[in-house]
């Protein structure tokens, strides 16, 4: 935690899927780094490849049809891609744990909660049955489940969505992992429950010192949680920056669009909410130019014909756009203007 050692580094990751429509480049050249104790947010619309990126890190891509065709995944100095699958299993659940989007389907409906909780620690920590049970109770208590002992012998269907997600979190954290990947942990939940779950993750992260990758399509979720943000679109990184900088001075029209479409109850009441026009492109048939060109309000001919460069704005800030610098400057001006406005 103290020394800023890199825990996970992903370089030029490419995960492709073979489908009836041809090869889908679900993830096409993603790179990012995560330091120990840091929280990284990955933001993008559905189908942008954010889940596939993290399933690739866990080597959980169903093969066939999917395949990691290129790139490097280094977890704590270990090249995960080159690892035999038996050794990957020793990492899964113990050193990297995952929480999935839909707690309704991610827990096995046929097995008791205790069974599902106990099997992780028995496998990775070599617990006996009794130890595992007690550990499970402790974990349930930690994630704030009332009356954990009686819950242990229940089944998932007896619980509400929020409770199930707590159990997923308890399961994920029971081996004290170094990295927690939360794949849209709150999407399937009610808004009030969402806040509770996010608070819980935040709290546990600071208590256990776990690094976290938080995947979401909701910028509001990552705002208060993360140190860095990666914005993905059509399998590619569109923008990458520290959270503060990304929110203040985005250098990509897509990010700007996303930020504008976050509902903000504080001001501009009655105004129609901004919407990025159009739909995400079909990843199987991408145009030669910028994949966002069709929906971008400042696209010019260059955008549709030529693939944009990945421009470095400053040490921690990159953007995939022909006009990254210009957008950045504009954002800067807008930002200082709004700052002035709030000061007044």
């Amino acid at each position: 935690m103290s020394n800023n050692a890199t825990i996970l580094s992903v370089k030029d990751l490419k995960t492709y899927f073979q489908t009836e429509d041809g090869i889908v480049k679900a993830v096409d050249g993603i790179s990012f780094e995560l330091e120990k104790g840091e929280t990284l947010g990955i933001v993008g619309e559905s189908g942008s490849g954010k889940s596939v990126t993290n399933l690739s890190v866990m080597r959980l891509i169903p093969e066939p049809p999917g395949k990691i065709v290129g790139g490097e995944i280094v977890f704590d100095g270990i090249d995960v891609r080159a690892l035999p699958i038996e050794d990957v299993r020793k990492i899964r659940g113990k050193r990297i744990a995952m929480i999935f989007q839909d707690p309704m389907t991610s827990l096995n409906p046929f097995l008791k909660i205790s069974t599902q909780l106990m099997e992780v620690t028995r496998l990775h920590l070599g617990h006996s049955k009794e130890e595992a049970y007690e550990h499970g109770v402790k974990m349930l208590e930690m994630v704030g489940i009332p009356d954990p002992r009686s819950r242990m012998d229940g089944y998932p269907h007896e619980l509400s969505g929020g409770m199930r997600q707590r159990i997923m979190i308890a399961m994920a954290l029971s081996c004290d992992p170094e990295l927690l990947i939360a794949d849209e942990p709150t999407t399937a939940l009610d808004v009030t429950i969402q806040a509770q779950i996010l608070e819980l993750i935040k709290d546990l992260r600071s208590r256990m010192g776990t690094s976290v990758i938080l995947i979401t399509h909701d910028l509001g979720v990552v705002a208060g949680m993360t140190d860095k943000i990666v914005v993905m679109y059509a399998g590619k990184v569109f923008e990458q920056a520290t959270t503060r900088e990304l929110f203040a001075t985005p250098a990509n029209p897509y990010t700007k669009g996303l930020l504008k479409s976050v509902p903000d109850p504080a001001h501009e009441q009655g105004k129609e909410l901004y919407q990025i026009p159009g739909l995400p492109p079909d990843v199987a048939h991408l145009p030669p130019g910028c994949p966002f060109a069709e929906r971008c309000d400042r696209a010019v001919e260059l955008c549709t014909n030529e693939y944009p460069p990945f421009v470095q704005i400053n040490a921690d800030h990159h953007s995939l756009c022909h006009f990254a610098k210009e957008v950045y400057e504009e954002s800067k001006i807008e930002h200082s203007a709004s700052l002035a406005k709030t000061k007044r």
């Binding site: 866990m58 959980l60 169903p62 066939p64 038996e86 299993r89 020793k90 990492i91 899964r92 659940g93 113990k94 744990a97 995952m98 999935f100 839909d102 389907t105 991610s106 827990l107 096995n108 409906p109 046929f110 097995l111 069974t115 099997e119 992780v120 496998l123 990775h124 089944y155 269907h157 997923m168 399961m171």
Partner: protein, 329 residues
């Protein structure tokens, strides 16, 4: 749970009575009689026959008489018949489950016929059931786990063959190969273990094929589900993922198929009994229907339908054990 089982057991009684009534109605609607095949009888003799079997009464009286006999009634005075089960209670003689005597197998009661011939059919049917279940599950799981491999294609093509070759064709082919060419197994008749190998294989083939296909489909569906991904993300190896997390959901379609499968097995024994000359109940049943042997038909139908309903109940209970989301109150 116990309340549920009791209620379901109680429902079997009216359902079985309905089945018996429907069967009785069906037999009565069909023109002709058990004696109508024989040369035209003198009217006096026909009258005698009618009186003996109660056919001279109006149909509704006959119906209620039949209902009383097949359930429970007080034994009439001076009734010396040995059909049905008798017992005394409160000083009255009761007689239950009396289907009477067969009209074709003279001097034999229906219950007696059923219980002499049932063991043959039940042995073959039960063994075929077990065989189909074991091999079907094994092949289905192999095919699902090695999807799109030679194993998968091999077992699914043979399953398809099992579904497409009628068992009255399969049986004789087995006889030719194993009895007449290789001299390994006796071709027919009841006897030792060697005698029942081919009948059991013949009978189970189609169900084995069906169960294998259901298992494969069920397993493939389950192995794609989110909770399997969770199990993999926990670091479990494929064997535990399959055995601890996959198989319960995967075999649920198989469990719900076992009820209809049993009904099919009971009917399917007819062919096997004919091909292998086994004196089972299936053949007796077909003969009874063709002979218009009404008491025997009724008895066998009642017996089989109760058996099937009980098996369906067992399937439902098993379902409840497999899937905790199902609650019986």
């Amino acid at each position: 749970m116990i309340g549920f089982i009791l209620r379901r057991l109680l429902i079997i009684i009216p359902m079985a009575l309905l089945v018996v009534s429907l069967t009785w109605g069906l037999i009565r609607v069909a023109p002709g009689n058990f004696y109508s095949d024989e040369r035209s009888l003198p009217p006096a003799i026909e009258e005698n026959i009618k009186r003996k079997y109660g056919l001279d009464k109006p149909w509704y009286q006959q119906y209620f008489l039949m209902l009383g006999n097949v359930t429970c009634r007080t034994a009439p005075d001076g009734d010396t018949s040995t059909t049905g089960f008798r017992f005394g209670l409160f000083g009255t003689q009761f007689k239950c489950f009396d289907f009477g005597d067969s009209v074709k197998y003279l001097g034999k009661s229906v219950n007696e016929i059923i219980f002499t011939h049932l063991p043959y059919s039940a042995t073959i049917g039960f063994l075929a059931y077990i065989l189909a279940l074991i091999l079907g599950l094994i092949f289905g799981n192999i095919a699902a786990l090695k999807q799109n491999s030679a194993w998968d294609y091999g077992s699914m093509t043979s399953a398809m063959l099992g579904l497409s070759v009628p068992n009255f064709v399969l049986g004789p082919i087995l006889v030719i190969v194993f009895s007449l060419w290789l001299y390994w197994l006796p071709p027919a008749r009841w006897g030792g273990v060697a005698n029942i190998i081919m009948p059991v294989i013949t009978l189970s083939a189609i169900y084995m094929a069906y169960i294998a296909r259901l298992t494969r489909a069920g397993m493939l569906e389950v192995m794609r589900s989110d909770y399997i991904r969770t199990a993999r993300a926990k670091g479990l190896d494929e064997k535990s993922v399959l055995l601890r997390h996959g198989i319960r959901g995967g075999i649920i379609p198989v469990v719900s198929y076992t009820g209809p499968a049993l009904a099919g097995l009971l009917a399917g024994t007819v062919v096997v009994e004919k091909v292998f000359a086994i004196p089972g109940l299936g053949n007796i049943f077909i003969q009874s229907v063709l002979n218009r042997d009404e008491p025997l038909t009724l008895g066998i139908v009642a017996f089989l339908s109760i058996l099937i309903m009980i098996f369906n109940l067992i399937v439902d209970i098993a379902y409840g054990f497999l899937d905790p989301r199902i609650r019986y109150e």
